[in-house]
């Protein structure tokens, strides 16, 4: 146990360092952008109207004061960390004065639920089918599943998504193609609302699953193909252990460890996938929020989202690191 404690403390230290460096890089990148939130606000506020140049100059000065952008970079850096340490990202500059945390809190559940569901579903389906295909390698149905999974896997995500939109949104319009739920519906725990959310999630989840399934399928099939040649599997078969038990307890369990690591990494990185999926399907969430924040030069919001993303990915990696020795005796022994 003392060995595990040292391991734990080391990993926690690494976690803190990664988060600190990641957030600092995000701060530098967002503040190095040529997009100035004040100019963006002025452009948006005056683009169609007739505002005199004297008024624009006054507006520029007022907005700088209002947004708290008057100090130098060092001053802003210190203010940023003093807020971050108490979990406050400050106000959004493109939705002033609404706090960044409120905007993230509103968008995050949509992204997390959509991508967690699709990632876990894809992982379970891919590994299950891949495991079966590796073990029952003569099954025609599983071979066909393998061909289909491999056929979809290399197709760029947005093409699959667009095809689904055309087929189920236009040719055979049975599924909603935009948004997270139907209009004029209160967000509450009712059958109507949940049903609407599920129906709106079918196409985004299907697009992610179709593209993602192949990777898990092929990985698991290869792993299982290796494991079935191990002596202990042959011994179990010769010993008359039921095939179902061999598959579940001897083959799949041993082949699963790398896939579990992959799942954790995928769950941590759901923010990357959110951007394209949400844009293509008009789905509300963190990706849509991030794109809008970047366009508006709202570095408070960009920093808030990036920080949440950095912490989420780092926590996912940390959890895997911490759980691995508990799950796999070989790692514990080392």
């Amino acid at each position: 146990m003392p060995g595990y404690l040292v391991y734990l403390l080391t990993r926690l230290g690494q976690f803190a360092l990664v988060v600190f460096i990641g957030i600092n890089i995000a701060f530098i990148v967002t503040h190095a952008t040529p997009i100035d939130p004040v100019e963006q606000s002025i452009a948006a506020a005056t683009q169609f109207g007739s505002t005199s140049p004297e008024a624009i100059a006054l507006m520029r000065q007022s907005l700088k004061e209002l947004y708290g952008l008057e100090g130098d970079l060092a001053h802003q850096y210190a203010a940023f960390w003093s807020r971050i340490l108490v979990g406050n990202f400050g106000p959004s500059l493109s939705a002033f004065p609404t706090p960044v945390s409120v905007l993230i809190g509103r968008a995050l559940p949509w992204t997390v639920s959509l991508l967690v569901v699709s990632t876990v579903l894809t992982w379970v389906m891919g590994n299950l089918l891949g495991g079966l295909a590796g073990y029952f390698h003569r099954s025609r149905a599983l071979r066909l599943a393998g061909i289909l999974a491999m056929a979809f896997h290399p197709i760029p995500y947005y093409i699959v998504a667009f095809l689904l939109l055309i087929v189920f949104g236009h040719v055979w319009p049975i599924l909603p193609i935009s948004g997270g739920s139907s209009m004029n519906m209160t967000q509450e725990w009712s059958w109507a609302f949940v049903g609407s959310v599920v129906s709106h999630a079918i196409l985004p989840v299907a697009s992610l699953a179709l593209v993602g399934l192949g990777g898990w399928f092929m990985g698991m099939r290869a792993l299982v193909s290796n494991v079935v040649t191990e002596d202990y599997v042959t011994y179990a078969e010769l010993g008359g252990v039921a095939r179902r038990r061999i598959l579940a307890a001897y083959v799949m369990r041993n082949a699963l460890m790398p896939q579990v690591t992959g799942l954790a990494m995928s769950l941590g990185a759901i923010f990357n996938g959110a951007i394209i999926t949400e844009q293509v399907f008009g789905y509300p969430g963190i990706g849509t929020l991030l794109v809008s924040a970047v366009h508006a030069g709202d570095y408070s919001l960009v920093l808030g989202i990036t920080t949440v993303s950095i912490v989420a990915v780092s926590i996912a990696v940390l959890l895997i690191d911490l759980l691995y020795p508990l799950l796999d005796p070989r790692v514990r022994a080392r």
């Binding site: 040529p34 997009i35 100035d36 100019e39 963006q40 452009a43 948006a44 005056t46 683009q47 169609f48 109207g49 007739s50 505002t51 005199s52 140049p53 004297e54 008024a55 624009i56 100059a57 006054l58 507006m59 520029r60 007022s62 907005l63 004061e65 209002l66 959004s92 493109s94 002033f96 004065p97 609404t98 905007l103 509103r106 149905a141 939109l165 055309i166 949104g169 236009h170 049975i174 599924l175 909603p176 193609i177 935009s178 139907s182 209009m183 004029n184 209160t186 967000q187 109507a192 049903g195 129906s199 079918i202 844009q279 293509v280 008009g282 509300p284 809008s292 924040a293 030069g297 919001l301």
Partner: protein
Amino acid sequence: MRVWRDIALLMVLALGATGAQAQGTISDLPRKETLIVENPEGTIKNAGWFNIWAINAGGQSTGLHQLGMDTFWYIDPQRGVDGVWDNSLASEKPIYNADFTEMTVKLRKGIFWSDGVEFSSADVLFTIQTHMKTNGLRWSAPIQVNVADVAAPDDSTIVFKLKKPNSRFHALFTVRWNAMWMMPKHIFEKAGDPLKFAFDPPVTLGAYTLKSYDPNGKWFIWQKREDWKRTTVARFGEPGPKYVAYVDPGPPDKRVIAQLNHDLDIIHDVSPEGMFTLAKQSKSSHGWFAGFPYAHPDPTLPAVVFNTQNEMFKNRDVRWALALLIDIKAVSMASYRGAATISAIGVPPTGSAPEVYHAPLEAWLKDFEIDTGKSKVKPYDPMIGKQIADMLRPSMGEQIPTDANEIAKSFGRGWWKPNPKAAQELLERAGYAKRGDKWYMPDGKPFVIKLMVEGDGRPVMTRAGSMITQQWRQFGIDASTVVAQGSMADRRAAGDFEAMITWSVETWGGHPDLSFFLDSWHSQFVAAAGKPQPPRNWQRWSNAELDKIIEQVRQTGFDDPKGLELGREYVKLVVREMPTIPLMSYNVFTVMDDTYWTGYPNAATAPYTDPVPNWANTKYMMVRIKAKPQ
């Protein structure tokens, strides 16, 4: 096999369960009573914020400013329901004193807020005083710059005392897309800091009130007020739709799909290709023009804008030479696939402008001559609009008009005929020289032009920029495009560009007065190189003759015919000087589906307003749109 059968069964059940909902995006509103409109702002990140007086804190064209807000006057970009000018909250036009230091507004009586409180001069007084004492509201700066004092002598009169003469002060309260909206005093006076008040639910002056909205900002639904007769628009009849939903339908391809499914009644804008698809595949989809070019020409003038503080473009001979190297027909085809309305002069060819500027100046343009030093050329070709129509006729057939007036309305009149010889002579007179295949500047350096374009955000203009640089390159100038993407507004304001495709000219549309943009072109506002330039003189051009015109406009009343003459003087001056190369109006492919609704505006029979639905002027559309008998 059982597993596969079960999976198939589950899928069928899932699809069956969702199928009923999928056809309509509205859950429980009657489709026949609901007008569904695209909000081009997209997803509103701060959906529950309806305080439109706070800068960019929430959405504007979510229906909020079209259906909920009101102010003194509206100028229509087209002909208007009852003329271009409409006295909305005001009962008559602005009343100025002789030296334009005082403006009196008489208010309409019998107008009520949606919560039943009567609108009065107290609301106006409160709105103005709040902006005078609060920094950072959307209209704080223009009020603080202009207003010395404001008073309400009675319930229906407001008197502004101005800090200096301003014959266009009323423009602040005159809608052209938007204007300064009136605040409900009885709500805001209890709200505390007006910068931090969300105003949810909004109390409206318009004929609609907010019914519901998506907290994630995808949709906003407005419902017709039961007391709509107590709003300003009631003078023109009852608004047709009971509900109006403003939605974010996603990228252009999804807008097209949504309208093909009749789930989106008004598309704000799509690509030319999207428009052509709808025109071919949907009998119920229509644009502003019944046929090609479909799009509504907005009173905005995309142009090649030179940074005239850059040494390269200080000489007008160089600017003119570059204009004479552009083949506008190719630019029209590249940008709008031919669906552009071209303009050779510095006024967008839309609204009243073709009648008051383009047509009357046609003869002058035909006679206009450039002396290159070696030859004299008349650069204007009045037949280019017709030539574009002729080019398109083989592929678009009967959709292309044959009548000269219709062609002028749809495709514009003339433009500058490409003349590489004259361009060469002008460049040589400016000290530029061609050695081998390349042009060199007077200082011996290669003549390199980086033309900034916006990129994916504005693909049509980006394609125009690419075509123009290609034409300049063919002449031996090392020209290329630079894609600015999201940094466009910053770089434009900072003068961090050599030349760019943007617009520095926007007009009222329906009214010929040019001060809307022209006043900002006075040299007093031109920033020093490196300092931020206020809108809209992005070209940072100073000209004493122009200053004189602007100063005369400032002393002329808004409706004074002398303003027209001064406007034409401006046009002639910028033709001679070419500080920007005007290209075309900004054409917006607004597509209206008449499956459920009729009475939309159109160029031929109902040009009563601009159909582009993010304009606040579209409040007038609601009284003309009627349910289509099913």
